[in-house]
Assembly symmetry: C2
Amino acid sequence: MPQLRLALNQIDSTVGDLAGNAEAIVHWTRHAAGQGAHLVAFPEMALTGYPVEDLALRSSFVEASRTALRGLARRLADEGFGRLPVVVGYLDRSERAEPRLGRPAGSPENAAAVLYGGEVVLRFAKHHLPNYGVFDEYRYFVQGDTLPVVRVHGVDVALAICEDLWQEGGRVPAARSARAGLLLSVNASPYERNKDDTRLELVRKRAREAGCVTAYLAMTGGQDDLVFDGDSIVVDAAGEVIARAPQFVEGSVVLDLELPAADPGARDGAAHGQRVDDGLRIDRVVLSEEPLPAYEPELLGGYAHRLDDDEEIYSALVIGLRAYVAKNGFRSVLVGLSGGIDSALVAAIACDALGADDVYGVSMPSKYSSDHSRGDAAELARRTGLHFRTVSIEPMFDAYMGALGLTGLAEENLQSRLRGTMLMALSNQEGHLVLAPGNKSELAVGYSTLYGDSVGAFGPIKDVYKSTVFRLARWRNRAAEDRGQTPPIPESSISKPPSAELRPGQVDTDSLPDYEVLDAILSLYVDQDQGRDAIVAAGFDEELVTRTLRMVDGAEYKRRQYPPGTKISAKGFGKDRRLPITNRWRETPLR
Amino acid sequence: MPQLRLALNQIDSTVGDLAGNAEAIVHWTRHAAGQGAHLVAFPEMALTGYPVEDLALRSSFVEASRTALRGLARRLADEGFGRLPVVVGYLDRSERAEPRLGRPAGSPENAAAVLYGGEVVLRFAKHHLPNYGVFDEYRYFVQGDTLPVVRVHGVDVALAICEDLWQEGGRVPAARSARAGLLLSVNASPYERNKDDTRLELVRKRAREAGCVTAYLAMTGGQDDLVFDGDSIVVDAAGEVIARAPQFVEGSVVLDLELPAADPGARDGAAHGQRVDDGLRIDRVVLSEEPLPAYEPELLGGYAHRLDDDEEIYSALVIGLRAYVAKNGFRSVLVGLSGGIDSALVAAIACDALGADDVYGVSMPSKYSSDHSRGDAAELARRTGLHFRTVSIEPMFDAYMGALGLTGLAEENLQSRLRGTMLMALSNQEGHLVLAPGNKSELAVGYSTLYGDSVGAFGPIKDVYKSTVFRLARWRNRAAEDRGQTPPIPESSISKPPSAELRPGQVDTDSLPDYEVLDAILSLYVDQDQGRDAIVAAGFDEELVTRTLRMVDGAEYKRRQYPPGTKISAKGFGKDRRLPITNRWRETPLR
């Protein structure tokens, strides 16, 4: 059987940075060529970054992407890689789609192309467009209607983009109809908890359906509120794993494959133009007909060490924060340190993402702050080595109380807002990006203060339930111990009862159920869209369920009071799973 | 020709309030019956409110909507309206669509039903789903595949929902194929500037295509960030206007129509089940075969007075604010009054929406506040009669400056944030909803302070460019004069140069181009997705365009530093037109 050395480049792109992304593609193509690869691939929209969202609707950006692609093809040839086919994802537009209401302006395509000989020799658009969860691709793209097949050294390689594998029908059965020897899918598949297992089973299933070796090339890194976890996979036609790349790491999987020779009947376009599954038209290009001279397979791609569940989540949080800070042009971050577990975990993640020297912590005690809180904040700073200072909010608090004489919740929220204003003042003065410490449990039930502890450019643990916050803190400390390092998080931050310390003796359980129970109910209501009756039927106390749902509905209502123009989108909670936009149904009264 | 008295109920619904909306439908059906109507209609999703967004994905809410619809049918019959067909929009689900990835969970439908004899006798789902601008219907709904035709007193009435008329093909040509005597479309079409003209031309064109009288029933009122402007229209088969309802007003258009008799060939389902345009299957129901005894037409529906452009925009802002406050369970609002035109216009809108007795203004001077600012704020209060107080921010400012020694932008932003904290403290203490005064020009270029003047639950003029702010202020004062009332906005708030007053002698033109030029560039970049070259080609100074685009891109970047979970959505600016989500393309550098 013909042989092929495949290089799957699992890289991180930046949305909008066409020049930088092109440079990375050239860099990794050079690396692949150095490894003797015969076919090189880059992820979905590697040239433009993913997700481009509304940029897809700006025609000048679409044209810039098309121009950058042609420039990249020439550049690769100029650098001596003209005979090496390179598959690269980018943003294109359909030249056939007529403008009409209901079709995205300019008919943009989530596209990929094969670059060869200094030219774009084949191009195609994603066929299945995801439009759920974090995806809105019906808003931005028109569908592709071909099955692209490129013949490389006598092997027919069918190409696909991400969702083409996730949904039934289309390019997977089409690859079988076209008798492809290899199915290569380029992806930008956002991280979700346990998605690696789902993804593996998916690729195995699709390989069996396609009846050929299937390579699933993933993106890694972070962009906006998405994290990409890498984990590229190659399986054989029976669904057995041949190679698997590391999670959360940029790099290249290079491996030798023995693949069936292309069907001579399909040669020179015999089946070119034929309509197959889902109405797809086969679009064949032959780059090199003759198989390579037989060679000794050397590169196996390998099977990377798998992270356990806690390490995987923690890694996603580190990668996501690092990418957000870097891609927004910041170098350092600022965290308010209360001595509690949330801000301690956020600080630990920040130190792992950026190094302690770029992490600034500030303790902002009030008259209600306990001694242990101040001590725990300082101890965290000592253990991690982050920059630390203390600024009391008492003079500001006294000034407001003197003018307004606030009571109750207004007095509690005031303290939190004074701290938010303090953080933003330091951010404006010194240039740090502010991190918000909120976790998913408290954000879901509204146990936080608008313009107070919600202040910040990025919330590293906004998609992490409080019970998972505890688990991750313990995991991080244990991981340090295993390596003979100082555990970053003070034990008493983990073991003491959580408290906002906005009035004397306050603890979270004054207002909230036990976090294990709360998180279980939230998971059913928020993540799984279950109604009250179904949650009660699952075994939870009716009064508790009613109260919790009322808090979530009230929190949604509270979130709607954000600044104008900042309506909560379904993507706001996209990294893990999302909160519903509208819990406005009066199943429970709002007030 | 057979006659029919049609009642088009142009009403306001509340999302999630099934009981309240059902009550309104009964109320208006009673009114229609009292007027002798033979066919009664309510807007798109009148029973659930529109837009339900993620509620569509919660199966318990879908079931509640279905149950409420059946209950409404029985209730109408119980009240003696069983022989009066009522068309009502609601949320349903497809019972045939199989669950699969890429299809909204539970296969929800944006549906409408005909209620008759205590039962749901016909139901159908929207065929064309809008997924652009403020719409995301591919995310929430599956498409309908029928052309519903109901025979009422010998007239075949084809039914459609909103976008079915906006997009080409589908139910409009299908209505012609089915030889309908009347095409009735129920809608919830959000207000945009000048959309009334577009809508009129659309309905006229579709009536000619359908070849029959066409009734376009619109929703009115406000929901979240959408405003519905009413303006229901009835045109004849030649596209000539028969009746037109008022803008922004709840009510009923009742009119007598002479309509062609139903085709006897289509009787009893002769053409029932036939496939017509766009693959739609005709779904016929016969309620009453015999035409009514001839009667003297009495009710013409009328042609309502049209608002001029400024009054129309101002009305939309009043309606939108009134609905938002009421539907979120508030009664009163709080506005920071700077003496400038933005907060003055916001206060005037609030007084018109709620009455001055539910509007609270607070002047929050600093050492940089001019005497005329304080005076203009007090004068506005005097003219409108709103509640007014003054609280200086100097003690709080001094406390922060003493602790942090801020300079430059950090010092400027601090003042704005102290005011935001003041407004939220008063809101928490007294229960008012805070209004944010930002206009579209300053929000687009980022000339505002996060957690400062951006604080507020609702931004009444966030979709209004500054040059329009001036126009509306002048229009409102002139309208008062025309009615012999005191103009609400002090002349000097309109005539003085705009200033943030955050440092000595500061004026907006220190940082921004003249607003007329700025707004023209913004309109091209933000509203029309034009690139830099196209804007320069339109005749603007290249350096100015580059600088403006850089400000917008930087503002987007700044908006991305909102609290976690509040990612800007395309809907954020939906009421007028939206800002792009991602101006992240490095056409101009971010920093």
